[in-house]
């Protein structure tokens, strides 16, 4: 390893952003006047210099190989002067400043087959997601597989603008929510439902008992001596299956084929447009894991999208729609069962209870 330690370079940071810009972006930085979406996946931005750029937005798998990235690079070399970008939602964007490149590039994308145009406007764009069983050590579900199954079913909405407003879907494979599903129109969340199974014979060797105890938000963990081992005990009645103990202590895994599955959430948004940003709210507490194509999850999401599409007013986000009609109507219209699990009993629970005589039957 010594040869790699000599002349070590550190703390240089990423390449500077403008090195990665095509000339048309450099020339028109800060000068853009307006944009139009010409068709799903195709945007044109017009500059005060008179210049235009066309952006072709394509759905892509977040998890990809260098082989696939090389295909993207080749397309960018051939049509876009060797530049392209990714969006925040894992789409690929090919940007051209020369209109004559537009149709040939569209043809090349169609020929590729794995870069569908879409993800713009009042439709469903790519799903922001986490790693799932592909790479994470705390997941309750897979991520890429669920995303693939859901997007296959909603594919028509990716390449069209027929919803009242944009619908942002995200997925996180456990309650850590690396996918930040707490503020999306529709969220897919991996959940555990069994308390950690404790490996008493190894816990003291693998974990610091005080930090493990301190990790529990509900103080459900206490020190315990089990079969002469220094270990911990979990009060199952207080466990909310957050998995924070496992993050601190590998001897307390939660994963379980029967216990794990998906919760669906709806109505969050991060944009400030019209209404203020909103958290997602619980729609379905639990759907079992159904690999490889998670049909119950997929069909429930499809149902929510279709009811929303038919019932919401123009420009109304899912959360704005649910708020306007009332959550009691959301459950009625979607046919989703309401249960004890929907009633909050954590920190700010009382703020969510109805303190009024105003409601709908």
């Amino acid at each position: 390893m010594a040869e790699f330690q000599a002349n070590k370079i550190t703390d240089i940071g990423p390449p500077k952003y403008d090195e990665m810009w095509p000339q048309v972006i450099k020339d028109n930085y800060g000068k853009w006047l307006y944009h139009d979406i010409l068709e799903p996946g195709v945007l044109v931005h017009v500059s005060e210099t008179g210049a235009k750029v066309w952006s072709l937005r394509c759905g892509a798998t977040r998890l990809m190989t260098t082989l696939f990235l090389e295909q993207i690079c080749k397309l960018a070399d051939e049509y876009c002067g060797g530049f392209f970008r990714f969006t925040t939602r894992n789409n690929v964007e090919f940007i051209v400043g020369d209109e004559s490149k537009l149709e040939p590039l569209k043809k090349a994308l169609a020929a590729n087959g794995a870069l569908p145009l879409g993800g713009t406007g009042a439709g469903i764009t790519n799903i922001v997601h986490t790693q799932g069983w592909v790479h994470c050590h705390t997941p309750a579900i897979d991520a890429s597989g669920v995303v693939k199954a859901v997007m296959d079913e909603l594919f028509d909405y990716f390449g069209s603008h027929k919803l009242p407003a944009q619908v942002r879907i995200s997925l996180a494979c456990c309650l850590n929510m690396c996918g930040a599903v707490h503020c999306s129109d529709i969220s897919i969340l991996g959940v555990h439902r069994k308390p950690p199974v404790i490996e008493h014979s190894h816990l003291d060797k693998m974990c610091e008992i005080p930090t493990t105890i301190a990790a529990c938000p509900t103080a459900a963990i206490k020190p315990a001596k089990i079969d002469d081992y220094k270990s911990v005990a979990v009060n199952a009645d207080r466990c909310m299956f957050c998995g924070n103990c496992y993050t601190m202590c590998p001897a307390m895994p939660l994963a379980d084929a029967a216990g794990d599955g998906i919760a669906l959430w709806v109505g969050g948004k991060v944009s400030n447009a019209k209404s203020m940003p909103m958290f997602s709210k619980l729609a379905v507490p639990f759907i079992p894991n159904e690999p490889p194509r998670w049909p119950s999850t997929v069909q429930t999401i499809k149902k929510i999208v279709e009811v929303y599409a038919g019932d919401a007013m123009k420009y109304e986000r899912v959360g704005e729609w649910a708020q306007r009609i009332g959550w009691e109507k959301f459950f009625e219209k979607t046919g989703i069962e309401f249960s004890h699990h929907h009633i909050d009993d954590y920190r700010f629970a009382a703020t969510t209870w109805r303190t009024s005589t105003q409601f709908k039957w």
Partner: protein, 423 residues
């Protein structure tokens, strides 16, 4: 030649119109990539077992850095030796994820040579995530990356890789130089990013306008959101063209034939009711406007943000673990964001000092603020309380007065009291 595993469950995910990660990884496996073959094998086992097959964590890294590499080991390495070690390297992405192919290929070449050839483009925080390296490859990968001008991002209890929206590079709504702010913060705070020294993680995200395309106010401890404090610019000719149906509504986001109904789509949907359309002229009472962006979104050719631009700063957003999800709270309603951003950085450093001093282990700044109160935080960063910081004033009477706020202080003599009031 890589040993291919039977993957009947995963093969179901090669069907359908959406791009398939299985198809892609399988191609790489068939081309001889053992890590790709074994990753599919192990994932197939997870699909069968309905449980993941990665061990908990693993302490690995590169010398001199306390983060940027996430350890990962298979718990079935005998079956899938190609992914026995499957460590992740977070590579700091260029701001707003533009790539020059020639530069990106530098990373791809290193990764083909020394890693699994699989990546996340991109991780949730923003990095390029190189997914799957053996321990002995970590130092060589790091050395080769830095030689080519690439560096690792953040992990652990450190500054995480800042991220931003496309900004002025290709968006007419951007009120601030998102890329430059992102780059400046990243460069200024390399030590905070690479050597974890805090109670927990800290994220910056920079959105050019209140549409918040990078979800800064939900996903970052400190959200920098472009805004303005003068008037929305109006082009009355373009307004007339929208009204006349000559320009498609919403920049085509609701289809090419969407006509703008100025009353229903704009005036009536304005959350503050500050817009008026009379005698063919649109007017805005800007003093009442909360800059939500709706009108600008639906008639982008007629309306533009003002010219006196800067940022609103919101602090404390995070996902639920532990105390529940939080969105950022407005701390600085407006701050000019001009290079080198000294005023903002001064605020940042005060904020970090206070959090570092007072935060418990694994306590995000938003949770600390929740625990000790917003007032304690704004005092620590030398700000004055203003009504913009809250949605509404308190509705409970429990004010924690400090002794010096009350005339005569707290010390009293009970006998003085009893002289006037019988027991």
């Amino acid at each position: 030649m890589a040993k291919m595993h039977d993957t009947p469950l995963l093969d179901e995910l090669t069907k359908g119109p959406w791009p398939s990660f299985v198809t892609d990884i399988k191609k790489a496996a068939e081309a001889g990539n053992e890590a790709c073959a074994d990753l599919l094998g192990q994932l197939e086992l997870s699909y069968k077992d309905k449980e993941g097959h990665w061990k908990h964590g693993g302490i690995v890294g590169v010398l001199g850095y306390g983060g940027g590499v996430i350890g990962r080991y298979s718990d079935v390495p005998d079956l899938f030796p190609g992914v026995e070690h499957f460590h992740t390297l977070r590579v700091n992405q260029p701001a707003s994820k533009f790539y020059k192919t020639e530069r990106l290929r530098e990373v791809l070449d290193i990764w083909n040579q020394r890693g699994s050839g699989m990546l996340n483009m991109h991780g949730s925080t923003g990095d390029m995530v190189l997914l799957g390296a053996f321990t002995e490859q970590l130092e060589p990968i790091f050395a080769e990356l830095t030689q080519k001008g690439w560096d690792l991002g953040g992990s652990g209890s450190a500054l995480r890789t800042p991220a931003c929206c496309v900004g002025k590079a290709r968006c007419e709504f951007a009120c601030i130089d998102t890329q430059d702010i992102c780059y400046s913060l990243t460069q200024e705070y390399q030590d905070e990013m690479h050597r974890p020294a805090w109670p927990y993680k800290f994220k910056f995200k920079i959105d050019g306008c209140p549409n918040c395309c990078v979800a800064s106010l939900a996903r970052s401890d400190c959200a920098i959101i472009g805004t303005w404090r003068d008037d929305i610019r109006i082009d009355q000719e373009a307004v007339a063209a929208y009204v006349g149906g000559e320009i498609v509504a919403h920049g085509g986001a609701n289809g090419p034939d969407a006509k703008l109904d100025i009353k229903a789509d704009v005036i009536d949907l304005c959350p503050t009711g500050c817009m008026f359309y009379e005698d063919g002229k649109l007017s805005i009472n800007n003093a009442e406007c909360t800059r939500c962006m709706h009108c600008i979104n639906v008639m982008p050719r007629a309306l533009r943000p003002g010219l006196d631009t800067g940022a609103s700063i919101l602090v404390g957003a995070k996902a639920p673990i532990l105390e529940g999800a939080q969105m950022g709270s407005l701390i600085i309603p407006f701050i000019k964001m001009e290079e080198p951003y000294d005023e903002f950085k001064e605020f940042v450093e005060k904020m970090w000092d206070w959090w570092d001093e007072n935060g418990k282990n694994r306590e995000r700044i938003g949770e600390l603020i929740q625990r000790v109160g917003l007032s304690a935080f704004i005092t620590a960063v030398d700000l004055k309380p203003i009504p913009q910081m809250v949605k509404e004033p308190r509705s409970n009477p429990y004010i924690f007065y400090k002794e010096d706020e009350v005339e005569g202080g707290f010390e009293r003599d009970i006998s003085d009291y009893r002289k006037k009031h019988a027991r």
